[in-house]
């Protein structure tokens, strides 16, 4: 599917993207953003589902089961926690942020 150099390009471009996203974030949003990025790597759930889905014997199924269990916890927990944090920014969200530097 995705091999060799093509994957290298994806790694590189995705790396720059991540750098760009965070370099313009005010300090005030660092914790929600860390939590949000924590949610985003919950995409490991997709891989865990495949790992369990291709398992052929009970040992592989057991490990795959753990993978899906953990990944689902990462994804759901990351979402709930980030949601709750960002909800608080609702009321005063229109005001400009002090310290926009970083």
């Amino acid at each position: 599917m995705i091999e060799g150099l093509a994957a290298l390009y994806i790694f590189m471009l995705a790396g720059f993207t991540g750098y760009e996203i965070i370099s313009k974030v005010p300090v005030i949003l660092h914790t929600p953003l860390m939590s949000g990025s924590n949610f985003v790597h919950g995409i490991v759930l997709v891989g865990a589902m495949i790992a369990l889905g291709i398992a052929e014997n009970p040992a592989q199924q057991a490990i795959g089961f753990i993978a899906v269990l953990l990944a689902a916890g990462n994804a759901v927990g990351g979402y709930v926690v980030t949601e709750r944090m960002l909800e608080m920014f609702k009321s005063s969200g229109k005001k400009e942020v002090a310290g926009e530097k970083k």
Binding site: G18, V27, L29, N38, L45, G53, L86
Partner: protein, 492 residues
């Protein structure tokens, strides 16, 4: 079908990036997490259609197992995530992050075990055609690297190391922040032991690559688990946010690597984005504390605390003050700066602090909030709590913006903060905090410190600020103390 799946993964990746982008501004932040959430749901649903899953002879069992695992893992996280108090947010993030790292590591484990199975079966000529899912095998794989391919094996092993360390390390970080683990000392010569352990781990990683045996794989994962514990236990105090952020970045990286192993573009993109964003965030946090990331990792923060707390004795004494006097002092001040710390979070005093701020503002006092980059347990922790209480952003200042302003400040109110206002960081080279930028609270006319007791802060370092002539201590629970101040100001 395959096109649909790939297109959906691409869409999910785009939604993740746009979502994270929107999360970097308070105005659009909520929309951002919703977009990312939609991406996650789409990617998860479409994965059920993947041919690798439906073509497996075990398909029915596996589908059921997947649904049960999602229900249990997701259900647990949903309940705990909804229930957890805002103050305990950092350890929950550490916990969920650890789960993600563990998932990445277990994916690697499944892949390595499958390859090991290929090698074991390769010895029997009859079952050679049954290689499922790995079409490009050489006919007789004798090592895991031959069964999986060089690039995939290397990335699977790297992802396994990183993911496993992030897993066990995050669990330790969670336990420490949650107050379940208070020790910072595990073994003598911890750094040396860690180094040796790391070398042995690399040795076993190479062994996994070059052999097709089961044993090295098991030892390899066990060693990585132990290493994660060993490097996290000595880290303490103010360094904790850096560690959580670093593990977050590491998990992202591990997810990206395992994405390559599985040929999954969504995982590669999302994982790598988080890996680089998290690395930069970690670097920014470490810089704010004037510590390099390697310094945080390899020099236990707690190791020098015994010596420095001895040195702190006898330099003067703490002077107590009553809440009523503080209230009067603040009501007639021209400018009040409030420095919140973790103590405010523990006491849940942020609502009272905002009430006090409104009262003072009515009386014509200028009130500002000064936030140190690492106040609390995570960067931005205090901002979240103050936002919860309804404090508008324009009253909240970063360290660089307010430090010059302390000279014009009548009263600085320190609530539950300690290390971030410790002047020893500026003038005592022997202090473990030396070099960390701090808020210049000591430059204001009066400093009022609200504190539960006379003990040292989270880092265990004595604070000379408390002994200064212009400092007064208001002992007590943060919320009660601020309430006293509110009553005092109202009475005027």
């Amino acid at each position: 079908m395959s096109i649909l799946i790939q297109a959906t993964y691409l869409l999910a990746a785009v939604l993740f990036i746009l979502g994270l982008k929107q999360m970097s501004s308070p105005v659009t932040a909520r929309r951002g997490i919703h977009w990312a959430g939609i991406g996650m749901v789409l990617a998860t649903l479409v994965t059920f259609l993947a041919p690798e899953l439906s073509d497996n002879p075990q398909a029915v069992t596996n589908y059921i197992l997947i649904i049960i695992a999602i229900a249990i893992g997701g259900g647990y996280a949903y309940v705990t995530g909804k229930k957890v108090a805002m103050t305990d947010m950092p350890q929950m993030i550490a916990m969920y992050n650890g789960m993600g790292g563990g998932a990445a590591a277990t994916i690697a484990a499944v892949e390595l075990l499958k390859a090991q199975g290929e090698v074991a079966r390769g010895a029997e000529p009859t079952s050679m055609l049954q290689s499922i899912g790995l079409q490009e095998l050489s006919p007789h794989p004798t090592t895991i690297a031959e069964a999986m391919g060089v690039d995939i094996t290397i990335l699977a092993i790297l992802g396994a190391i990183i993911g496993t360390i992030a897993f066990s390390g995050s669990i330790i970080a969670w336990a420490k922040l949650d107050g379940r683990l208070n020790t910072s000392k595990l073994l003598p010569q911890q750094q040396l032991i860690n180094l040796i352990l790391a070398i042995v781990l690399v040795g076993f990683a190479i062994a996994v690559y070059f052999t097709g045996e089961m044993m090295p794989i098991i030892v390899f994962f066990a060693l990585a688990l132990v290493l994660g514990v060993f490097i996290t236990v000595p880290v303490g105090g103010a360094d904790m946010p850096v560690i959580i952020s670093l593990f977050n970045a590491l998990t992202g990286l591990a997810v990206g690597f395992e994405g390559y192993v599985l040929g999954n573009a969504a995982m590669i993109i999302a994982g790598t984005v988080v890996g680089s964003a998290g690395s930069l965030l970690t670097h920014l946090m470490a810089k704010a504390m004037n510590r390099s990331v390697s310094n945080v990792f390899f020099s236990g923060f707690g190791t020098t605390q015994v010596a420095s707390s001895d040195a702190g004795e006898g330099g003067g004494s703490m002077k107590e003050i009553q809440g009523q006097d503080v209230g009067i002092m603040m009501a007639y001040a021209s400018q009040v700066v409030i420095i919140p710390g973790y103590g405010m979070a523990v006491a849940q005093a942020q609502h009272k602090v905002w009430e006090l701020t409104q009262l003072l503002t009515e009386k014509g006092v200028k009130v500002k909030f000064a936030i140190h980059p690492v106040a609390g347990r995570m960067p931005g922790h205090m901002n979240v709590l103050l936002a919860e209480a309804g404090v508008p952003y324009d009253l909240i200042y970063d360290m660089e913006d307010i430090n010059a302003d302390f000279q014009n400040t009548t009263v600085t109110l320190v609530i539950g903060a300690n290390d971030v206002v410790n002047p020893a960081a500026k003038n005592d080279p022997s202090s473990p905090l030396f070099g960390m930028p701090i808020l210049n609270a000591e430059q204001s006319d009066n400093v009022i410190v609200i504190k539960r007791g006379r003990g040292t802060g989270f880092s265990g370092v004595e604070n000379p600020l408390f002994l200064l002539d212009n400092t007064r201590m208001l002992f007590g629970d943060g919320q009660k103390a601020v309430n006293e101040l509110i009553v005092a100001v109202k009475e005027l």
